[in-house]
Symmetry: C2
Amino acid sequence: MSLPHAILTALLEKPSSGLELTRRFDRSIGYFWSATHQQIYRELGKLEAEGLIRALPTEQPVRGQKKSYEVLPAGRAELARWTAAAQDPRPHRDPLLLRLRAAAVVGTEGVVDDLRRHLDLHRRQLAEYEEIERRDFPPGKDSPQDRLQHLVLRAGIDLETFWTRWLEHALAEFAELPTEQR
Amino acid sequence: MSLPHAILTALLEKPSSGLELTRRFDRSIGYFWSATHQQIYRELGKLEAEGLIRALPTEQPVRGQKKSYEVLPAGRAELARWTAAAQDPRPHRDPLLLRLRAAAVVGTEGVVDDLRRHLDLHRRQLAEYEEIERRDFPPGKDSPQDRLQHLVLRAGIDLETFWTRWLEHALAEFAELPTEQR
DNA sequence: TAAACCATGTAACATGTTACATGATTTT
DNA sequence: AAAATCATGTAACATGTTACATGGTTTA
């Protein structure tokens, strides 16, 4: 149950319309919690019905008209409650690792090409994160808020570094396998 | 769409009943693709209806009676097709990173305790993986199949290592924050 | 003025979670 | 004989994905 809380966080950072939220879920927030515009509109409707957010008053809200939302006190309270509560780590699901296990049984055809493609994607993501770090967190002292944001970015950088290294290692292993096994 | 393929892989490795599969999804396979028994029974029903697996013939299969499944040729073909096909990386969703971002807005109360708890859980998981590595992949030469399995285990070890280090780093950062910020 | 894009949505479906139900077997 | 556990399920719901719909605004 994290999507509503992701939206509350985003709206507290800055009141936004559905489309603006969608854009933000393609970048910053989306780096660790992705959502499509369909999910966002559905959830905005629910949050409004529950009285956690409200549409900012405009002239006449018509279909196809921009509609911005802001968080109400009840919404902030709910987010604070959720943030303070203990949560168990969710089980991971990784299709790529599952695929290698399947490949061990039914053969590795096609896998190497996809490992290369994934490696390329992870390298790009890593470069993007490092660029953000250079731009937004230059060496020097940060405010406490910055330190939290930086911490999150660091997780992203280290995770992409892990995947990049692991994929390089995996490709090296495949290169050593007898040809008919690939 | 990976659950059916996780089940096909598991059944190819060894024909099993629903409960046996559930147990295996709590261990080995579950390390990178978890599933509850409800999901498994539902999916077994679908896979049987589609002719990808079949129940092993027994005397009289009654409710509450063990029922084992094996993969049919069509099932193996489907798994091979899925394994060879290119797949885009799924978007990640990490509640813990989302929580830190929320904490930057609504305050960090309760977060440190949970970071410690998570650190403990990741350390245990790491120890478990390393024990498996010692037991199942002693130094020396592996068969090509072993190498694939080892590669997957390595990803698990490196991932848990990343989380352990990152959480230690995060806790150190929190320790430096002014008290009222915690 | 046609095409592309902006902005908000609906519908149908797949997947995952939580709570509960049922009969058989084993343990106390 | 009661309680616990084994084994297979059902039901209801929450969440996520894919395809499509609709009207307004900008660009070629």
